[in-house]
Subunit: 660 residues, 2 copies
């Protein structure tokens, strides 16, 4: 990469890594103070990073923000930063170990060009900026309302006061070109270059794409079974028992296997055993200044009881209201459906045939719109709940959004399946919902932002070309940076995972009545890989990498869905004519049997979850070997210390007590 | 305690702590070698402990084993041992921290007499003996068949070859007298002295008694509700719905609260955040010599596939066969029951009235006998499965025993409740089973061993008194040690927890039909505290303390029981006349409703388990403060190192980067 080990001294060569954009009307004294704090030595409480102001673009228009700063760091500083963030790297013996400056030469490829990837360097710089803390300043110079207190993260305060507009890492044109070629531009089908994705975007995003790929492959058997079902039993809704039983096993097994896969990936990337850094309060968190009982630092405190009140007295009722509204809309949909059917029955023509699909399509669109609106409301509410930690904020947001989306998307299907018991309608609704929402999603997610970005892009190139005749279309750095600054911000994997969660739901809950669902989802996933890859490479600003070791709360959400799937599939089996044929005399017997089987399956699922280790054996062995070695090393150190201080019985050669 | 900080130098004063008993025919060379290894310096791979041979008793009979050795250690050695085992002690700031010799003076009461309790010293000595490893010896001197290889634990080899008969810690008469007085001898009711118990017996046993006490208190509300039910609704089996609903909530809540209680106890005792030491293979483990992939040490390896074959092809069928047998015995019991009933119906007299109870009592006794026999079979089988680790052995044993005991004890009750649907008989069976098993247990557990011990005890005292006229009944040390060596060995808390598990089952599963069950269990638990305390103090050898941080696999077992209890209680509610009265027209509706409610309750239980934090807030804060401090300390250290090696920009005073 950029930072050769030769650039060992400070300020040798400046490579811009991260862009800091301040508001265009920021006061000079605040800028000077901030740059000084960023450049200051670590001993003085600075971040010891390199900063340069971005020169004006080739076409310096008046609208251009002059307060853009490029941040970089010396090689030495990046290494010490890598130790700060607890980066894991491959050791000379092939194991993954936490990097330390003291042991740097024992790491594999340390002397190579590519020891720290650009994404890692950018992550380190972000970490160092985030943990740049106020000393004795009471406020940001020039802004008396932007209060500071010792230990407060300066960047977070600047962000919450709107002085700092954004921080983002720069793209690297050459690497991006290579990555996008191997990812989505070549024609022949192949696996995604997960390691390259991780190298460029970090572990969090690579895990998302890894899961997307895994999920697609996991769906292939379902799709393969689904196709003949669809081809040969076109109108036979009764044969779904086998499919439902297959569904049951499938959804438990794939989640367990994914957990192991994800652990393998995370181990290889060095995030599996990496310790989480101490979590700082989120930028938006506010409260009365007090002392944090854990760190002893002064920071805003917000009573937990108050937050609980907000959650249970405002957020919970609001969510329930939204759920009620969603169910109300569903009932309207059923009325429309009935109305369309009555028109069709009165006078069936080609147009009334099409009319039959209209309510479903309208409902599918309405669902998407409601999901979108609710999403904003949920974000607002969760922000207002004033969570101290980003992780707690995320969990509350995910919970709110998941519950609503689940009800909004699946309530009508459950109603049709279990109240109306109309398998024909269920099939039709499922197909319409699935296809409509896929088309809408792909459009909203990739093509619309791409089109907007393209317009902006062209405008910029045109403007540059107007003044200066460039042979190639390469933009100078200043313009490139400004162009990237204008790109949309990728808001994280939340929406992408949510989409996969809903698709997982469609397949695992109801695909037995519409076996083609798996096929549709496979097709959707393949286009999803391309459109997501495309949007990451071309539409969005480069995101900071996120050292994730698993897919986090989504694993839990998918597990919950698979439990619901077991219950649903058992109920669907119980309603099938075949099951009823076994107990011709009484429904009671049938229901009791189904309930017993369902309980058995649930128990089996939990036992399986318990029995199958989350981390594959060979990785477990590697992890315990590391742990053992560090224990032994500690013992040996103690032993030497102990004999040195304890008593005066030194021997010439200190033999270790047992063979290590 | 014994070890005053003044005894700082080696070999100052010998206090016997642990007894090592070798077989009476052990060869002299083996003894000499072993003592040498134990006494040898740590640098030479020895244990650096003090050993003395026990002098013959006052009445040296021929039967007496001469090869009894008393093991002690210098104060300095105990401290370094405390660091080896990772003991947590109270720090000067009130937090619990891992003890290290380097920081010893910062620990609270370090200068006091009682810094290490006798139980802790004994645990340390056991640890040091267990980790005493062979160097270049190929076998135990004098025993060519007792193979050794570098790194093999000497004590484990001696144990597995029968050369070492037992290792046990000595009782401390004075402390024991004080403890037993505050524990079970004083008349007024009070809480158990858990801290003293922990001090004398270690954390594992103290947690058992803590759980026993907690469980008893948790049962009090059930008992209070149960008594009026029993008094006023004597023959009214229909009013149990409220009780069943109460049961549902109760069994979930008490387990969650216990988890928090147990975390509080474990935090106070310093075992909560203590890291598990690296687990050594169990003494009985055998296999082909190879290299452990984790430690790289030479040790026996046994292929996992072979073990799995033994488990699934032998153990599993055997367990299933036992379950079948148990169900077969149950059917015989029902035949006897029917036969007794028919005799009673033919000619009802006082004697046939009593005859009605006979089958239940016989069945209860048979159940206990079967449990006992099965227990031995399970131990044999699990031993034969050749598990490498003690923890894995324990888990497999617990699983085997739990499944069988559950079926054996509860199958008949489930059969009566759900197949025969005879609530009258259920009530009677439950009462008989509960009372009989309680009486049997108390007898087998405490009174029988006590009676045996008392006989031995008296014989010894008589023998001593015959020769020497002792004014007081105090025995000299040598006789005391021999007396203790003859006492029964306490085999751990397994059986005690198993008993509580079954009692928990009786109460949570069926107490709604027999509300007096809770009362009976409360009474049983109170006597259980006394009899268990008594047997610990008077009947058994002192056990080595076990630094447990929770009740381990039993928490899981109780959770599983509470899930079964939810299902059972819902089913019992569904069978009640009140529930049936709500749906007079159809059973199907009723069953569907009950199933829906049950699923809701199960979901609620899992959500509660998820939402209620396992560790109370104030302890979480303390733990994260420690973690934060160690992180900060590490950073500061790195910072100093980094600036020292990285570049030459030293300042006179190194200011820490941010206020800690």
């Amino acid at each position: 990469m950029l930072h050769e080990p030769s650039g060992d001294s400070y300020g040798s060569k400046f490579t811009p890594l991260v862009v800091v954009e301040l508001a265009s009307d920021t006061k000079e004294e605040a800028i000077a103070w901030l740059l000084d704090r960023i450049r200051d030595k670590q001993q003085n409480g600075g971040a010891e990073l390199l900063v340069e102001q971005l020169s004006p673009g080739v076409v310096a228009s008046e609208k251009e923000n002059p307060n853009m700063f490029l941040v970089g760091a010396s090689w030495q500083r990046l290494l010490s930063g890598a130790e700060d963030v607890g980066l894991f790297k491959e050791f000379s013996d092939g194991s993954m170990r936490g990097f330390t400056c003291a042991t740097k030469n024992s790491f594999k490829d340390f002397k190579g060009d590519d020891f720290l990837s650009m994404a890692e360097c950018q992550y380190i710089i972000k970490h160092e900026l985030d943990t740049l803390r106020a000393k004795d300043e009471t406020h940001v110079p020039g802004y008396t309302h932007a209060k500071l207190y010792p230990g407060k993260s300066i960047v977070r305060r600047l962000q919450s006061k709107g002085i700092l507009v954004q921080i983002f890492p720069l793209h690297e044109k050459e690497e991006l070109k290579r990555l996008s070629f191997s990812w989505y531009k070549k024609i022949k089908l192949s696996l995604q270059p997960l390691d390259d994705i991780r190298h460029y975007y970090g572990e969090g995003l690579a895990l998302y794409f890894g899961f997307l790929e895994y999920f697609t492959f996991a769906l292939v058997p379902m799709a393969l079974i689904g196709v003949p079902y669809y081809l040969f039993d076109w109108e036979d809704y009764d044969k779904y028992v086998v499919f439902a039983a297959f569904n049951l096993v499938w959804c438990t097994v794939i989640l367990e296997v994914w957990k192991r896969n994800s652990a393998s990936l995370a181990y290889g990337w060095g995030t599996l055993s990496r310790k989480k850094a101490f979590e700082e309060p989120r930028p938006g968190f506010h409260g009365v200044l007090g002392f944090n009982p854990v760190t002893g630092r002064e920071e805003p405190l917000y009573p937990n009881a108050k937050r609980q009140l907000r959650i249970y007295l405002v957020s919970l009722p609001f969510v329930l209201l939204c759920l009620y509204l969603s169910l109300y809309v569903m009932m309207i949909y059923f009325q429309m459906e009935g109305w369309a059917l009555s028109i069709h029955d009165e006078n069936p023509t080609f147009w009334t045939d099409i009319l039959l699909f209209i309510p479903s399509i309208i409902y599918a669109v309405v669902i998407e719109v409601m999901n979108l609106i609710y999403r904003y409301a949920a974000e607002f509410l969760t922000e207002w709940e004033n969570h101290r930690l980003e992780s707690s904020y995320q969990n509350h947001l995910v919970l709110k959004v998941l519950v609503f989306n689940f009800v909004n998307c699946f309530a009508s299907l459950f109603y049709i399946a279990f109240v109306m018991q109309d398998m024909m309608l269920l099939r039709q609704s499922l197909a319409t919902l699935l296809i409509t929402s896929q088309i809408l999603n792909q459009f909203m997610e990739a093509f619309l932002p791409y089109w907007l970005q393209r317009r902006r892009n062209k405008k910029m190139i045109r403007r540059v070309q107007k003044r200066k005749l460039l042979e190639d279309k390469e933009l100078p750095l200043a313009n490139q940076v400004r162009l990237e600054a204008d790109m949309s911000t990728y808001l994280g994997t939340f929406d992408d995972y949510l989409e996969l969660f809903l698709l997982f739901g469609y397949v695992s809950l109801f695909s037995c009545v519409y076996p083609l669902a798996a096929v549709l989802v496979v097709l959707n996933n393949i286009t999803e890989v391309y459109s997501d890859a495309f949007k990451m490479c071309r539409v969005f600003k480069r995101p900071f990498s996120d050292p994730a070791s698993n897919i986090g709360v989504w694993q839990l959400a998918l597990e919950a869905m698979s439990v619901i799937a077991i219950v649903t599939n058992c109920a669907l089996i119980g309603m099938s004519p075949q099951a009823k044929a076994y107990f011709p005399e009484s429904d009671t017997q049938l229901i009791l049997w189904i309930a017993a089987v369902e309980h058995g399956l649930l128990a089996l699922k939990f036992i399986l979850t318990f029995l199958i280790p989350d981390v594959p054996k060979h990785i477990q062995i590697k992890l315990s070997r590391l742990e053992f070695e560090s224990l032994e090393a500690l013992k040996k150190k103690d032993m030497t210390n102990g004999t040195k201080q304890g008593n005066k019985q030194h021997h010439g050669s200190v033999t270790p007590p047992h063979r290590a």
